[in-house]
């Protein structure tokens, strides 16, 4: 099962109810968290993707299990995230990260990672990084990536402060990656 922060049961409901319920549920979701919407309305797949695009949230993807659609949407405030200044000085391009053979650390939410990541990339969501730094080696070169470079900017700063010596923030992030994707979902 893909990890999500808030779950909404919209099974058995017809259009426009899954959208109406999703809008209401989103009010209880915090910025950056992932909402899982469970629905049986076949139209909800196209509708929720379109809704997220209209409203400005990130539609991550949908999986189907036993006739139930599980949609994943990450709450965003596009104006806020675009306005955040990136401060970490050591940056790298996607090409540099890929050709280095060093560790690529993906700090997006696990749901985002599950729907497609760079093959071999290690997943530690931004919010878990502080407690999981012991999984990483302080001397090794690490390329930190997220979707647009904002979360990875913060993560790179955290790692450097914790004594890591060879950290790069990958820009622009997965939003600019066009290579092969490895997925955890069918």
């Amino acid at each position: 099962m893909i990890h999500s922060d808030v779950q909404l049961d919209a099974k058995g409901l017809a259009c426009p109810m899954p959208i109406v319920k999703t809008k209401k549920a989103m009010q209880t979701v915090e910025e950056g968290q992932v909402l899982e919407v469970q629905a049986t309305d076949k139209g909800s797949k196209a509708d929720l993707a379109a809704w997220a695009k209209t409203v400005g949230h990130q539609y991550i993807g949908t999986i189907e299990e036993d006739g139930v659609l599980f949609h994943y949407i990450r709450k965003c405030n596009l104006e806020v995230s675009a306005a955040v200044e990136k401060t970490f000085e050591n940056t790298a391009t996607i090409e540099e990260a890929l050709s280095s053979n060093a560790t690529i650390l993906d700090v997006r939410e696990t749901a985002e990672y599950a729907f497609g990541h760079i093959p071999g990339a290690k997943s530690i969501p931004m919010g878990e990084l502080e407690n999981r730094m012991n999984e990483l080696n302080k001397e090794e070169t690490i390329y930190v990536i997220c979707r647009t470079g904002t979360r990875s900017d913060l993560a790179a700063g955290q790692l450097t402060q914790a004594g890591f010596t060879n950290i790069y923030n990958v820009l622009p992030g997965m939003s600019g990656y066009e290579g092969e994707l490895e997925k955890e979902v069918k």
Binding site: G12, L13, A14, C15, P16, M17, I19, V20, T22, K23, D47, W51, T54, V55
Partner: protein, 131 residues
Amino acid sequence: MSNKVAIIAANGGLFDAYKVFNIATAAAASEKEVQIFFTFEGLNLIHKQGMYALEMPAGKEHFAEGFKNAQVPTIPQLVEMAQDLGVKFIACQMTMDVMGLTKEDFVDGIDVGGAVTFLEFAKDAAPTLTF
């Protein structure tokens, strides 16, 4: 991009009601500002008693079961939901005068206005829809 959706509801059947309120609630849930102008038979859709007894088109009554099976909300439920989401209802004053109806005949929270009231809202709405 316009953030307004303007809808004219001019027909009073059950199918008409679903078209109007499904689009209206979906738009409102997508953070659009929505106004519906109810005129002529469209006034049935927000009439306190009338909205409970909207008719299917002749010969289509067998769809009643389909509505039930698909768990489609009832019209009174959609009306409440639409208002809850901030959809604004405007009843047409002229039609009300012709039909001898007053504001009290309709669900609470509506505005009564003339064509210009609606046109003022609709002038920069995209889309404007007529049902």
